[in-house]
Symmetry: C2
Subunit: 199 residues, 2 copies
């Protein structure tokens, strides 16, 4: 009987090793050899799953987005719109060491996306997806309160997302801790009449 | 008569070449050779001014901060507090190709600062300086309007700065253009009763 191999798990194991290399030495230091050493796997296995270094780096970026979306869906599953909006906006603020590593790797991808169209496409797609989600959620929350003109609502959603990203940046560089960042975000949501935020 | 050498200009010329290397190939690909080639100067000259690659990279980070502060001081020189606050908050939103390059390099430094204490110190210092400046300016603006409890004022200043950074990030990755980002920021300032913002 042939051995059952969980290919998705093996790909993910390689991606995790990639993130460790990016965190320790930066995106431009990535090589199959460095990832193999970090993950304790053979270069051959990496080559089996990824045709090129660029493909591996792209997969790492897509998996970051997928992990964030998975975490959001899990938190938001059966929650009311206000709580889902909170989960969406606060999701990127790192609270654990693993999340901090993730945020640092994401920043490396952001910096690189400026000169790498394939990464830019993944990043832009993620940014647009969370923007439409935030607009939808804010609309759902506000329908219970008052009619808001769509353009203003879209700008509010955008400002909330940008605030969340700016706070994440401050936590990343150590200028705020995650509790402080979540407080500022919760306060802004309360000011906008959104219930469900919890610092 | 000895030739007069403008050492500050030569150091800056090397730092500009460093930024070009960081933008094109990332922080971890920086070498004296790469910077020499990018700047059209000799490796020996770089070694004359910078004892190590790490010292050059740190100087590049410090010069980014100095350039941003210089630009802010120039814009804010004789302006009223509201306009100075606008200059402070909108200053990082890239409008030109050169500013976009600068923002991308800054993001590379942010990502790296997580694992590099010397860079973290420079970044943190810059973040704290702009935070106290924003608090002072917001206080000056609000004194003309109403007394605001200090803690709330400090949180408002922090939220405005974070919003500016989050908008900068969106312009950097191409999800917003700089006019849209400045509009969202101006709208938020107006909502907070600050005059002097101009999208």
């Amino acid at each position: 009987m042939p051995r059952v191999v969980d290919h998705a798990a093996r790909r993910l194991e390689i991606v995790h090793a990639l993130w460790a290399v990016i965190h320790a030495r930066g995106l431009d230091s990535v090589s199959f050899r460095a990832v193999a050493e970090a993950g304790g796997v053979s270069i051959g296995r990496i080559q089996h799953y990824f045709p090129s270094k660029a493909a591996l780096i792209r997969e790492g970026c897509a998996q970051m987005v997928a992990a964030a979306e998975g975490k959001y869906r899990e938190q938001a599953a059966t929650a009311p719109p206000g709580s889902r909006l909170w989960a969406l906006l606060s999701g990127s603020i790192p609270g654990t060491d693993a999340e901090r590593l993730g945020a640092a790797v994401w920043y490396a991808y952001l910096a690189k996306s400026v000169s790498d169209p394939a990464l830019a496409e993944i990043v832009l797609d993620a940014v647009r997806t969370s923007r439409s989600e935030a607009i939808q959620l804010l609309r759902a929350v506000r329908d219970e309160l008052a009619a808001t003109p769509d353009a203003a609502l879209e700008e509010d959603a955008l400002a909330l997302l940008a605030l969340g990203d700016g706070l994440t940046q401050r936590v990343l560089v150590g200028a705020l801790d995650s509790a402080e960042a979540r407080e500022v975000l919760a306060r802004e949501l309360t000011r906008q009449g959104v219930e469900g935020g919890s610092a």
